[in-house]
Symmetry: C3
Subunit: 204 residues, 3 copies
């Protein structure tokens, strides 16, 4: 679907913005903030490509991702106050982003013929690893390890994708449904303050 | 040797368990703990495969590793108290694990025709990098950088492997001896509380 | 240019020394310090190779890098006081190092036919990512994210390289000029205490 490509670029841009915003207030300079923006935006897809052996990795092969990231930087630096005020809207795009990244990762993996469990993991990897690298580089415990339903929404979406594919739904329908499921799970989990159980220390 | 494959799976399972146990008590949720479990189990082999250019990386190409990790998770979550009580036994399997991982990494590298020094480094990488990633993601200074003889046991074992290979010992004998040497060095270093010297700050 | 290869080895050696010096005073043992030395020295080039799909990565394919690193270790451990006293000289070689690493990364990327923006990023990656990994593994906020002009000097140098290439300057002249520009920017930024602006928290 053509629209998936555009949503991929928009997701990349939103991830770059979120990376820069995360970097602000942590004593990082402009370069550091942009570095974090880039790894947030392309970290997940890059990890997926490396694991699958797709090299040069996707964002090196065309201008689309670089331009999306630069656009994200320009928007953030020119309209900082506006971007911060728009955080709720950004959040929605971020959620669309993880949905799109999950589908792209899943489809890439399936096309390369890996087994379905691994393909689901690759979908989730595309969506969440950028954030893990962002948090690790800024010395934080990765957000997705301890806050809300995020990665599990991607995994659930990916499993539904496989189900719909097995049911032979048309691809476009499958993709829309999958993105819808991921967004719904994420929004519901935030609305009702759901999160994964925290692991207790077994020695206590 | 057929048994190497089984020891590889058991090692992977034990590494996954150790990852989950490390994650517990650090405010990680269930997903975070499993994520740490996975990277602990496959991080070393994945790094080795990426550096050598073996892609898709090994654990993507078959069900064995995924199943070993899932089994590790199930055991940990169902029998948590038991697993914690069995830590000493687990430790033994962990030590067998690093021996097996070292040999597998070394053999893979040699088969790809890299030079022997690099092959030794690849053997050690397979065994220890999973733990380094685990510690980095949970904001700890990697254990192997400051505690006991661990990586050096792998390096010593790998050097003996090369020696035995040069002496034309049969492969199976070589592998058993090498694993034995790695286990022995590790156990002796713990028994006699040996560790690598700590580097002093040269400016003092 | 033949000299580029030698400067590459010298840069690798100096980066290994700087890694070990950084590790000292952080409670790392000898193995940890050497591990940090290795990733500092080869982290940038390895990341570049992985992203571009050049595998086995460069330092696995020949003895030159390993020998440079070992030499760096031997010098550091035998002549520690001397090395610390020579820090200013080392700093100069480090600066030559990032210049050389930038050019090598840039040329490798251009030879593989990626677009010029990406090639500039690959040049910078070769020069700075080793330091980022070093700092992340030792639980520090990466130096290049908040201190002085470092990565931007590499980016500026890489852009001039592209300009000189477009002006059809001979390769050797281009390389010398580019290294000169990177060194000059870095030295001037330190002399006049220039740094990138720090990003303020947009919510204040």
């Amino acid at each position: 679907m053509e629209i998936i490509i555009w949503l991929d670029y928009i997701g990349t841009m939103v991830f770059a913005i979120s990376g820069v915003l995360t970097a602000a207030g942590k004593k990082l300079d402009l370069f550091g903030a942009m570095f974090i923006g880039v790894v947030t935006a392309i970290g997940g897809g890059t990890t997926r490509d490396l694991l699958l052996g797709v090299t040069p990795v996707t964002w090196l092969q065309e201008y689309g991702y670089i331009i999306s990231i630069l656009l994200g930087f320009i928007i953030t630096f020119l309209f900082r106050k506006f971007v911060v005020r728009m955080r709720k809207t950004l959040f929605l795009f971020d959620t669309i982003g993880i949905g799109v990244f999950t589908i792209i990762g899943l489809e890439k993996a399936l096309n390369l013929g890996v087994n379905p469990i691994v393909a689901v993991i690759m979908g989730m990897t595309s969506a969440v690893v950028g954030g893990v690298i962002r948090d690790t580089l800024t010395n934080e415990l990765p957000l997705i390890f301890h806050k809300e339903i995020y990665a599990m929404a991607c995994i659930a979406g990916a499993l539904f994708y496989l189900l719909f594919d097995w049911l032979e739904l048309p691809l476009a329908v499958n993709e829309i449904l999958t993105i819808g499921i991921i967004i719904t799970i994420r929004l519901l989990s935030i609305r009702f303050n759901l999160s994964m159980p925290v692991l207790k220390n077994p020695e206590n």
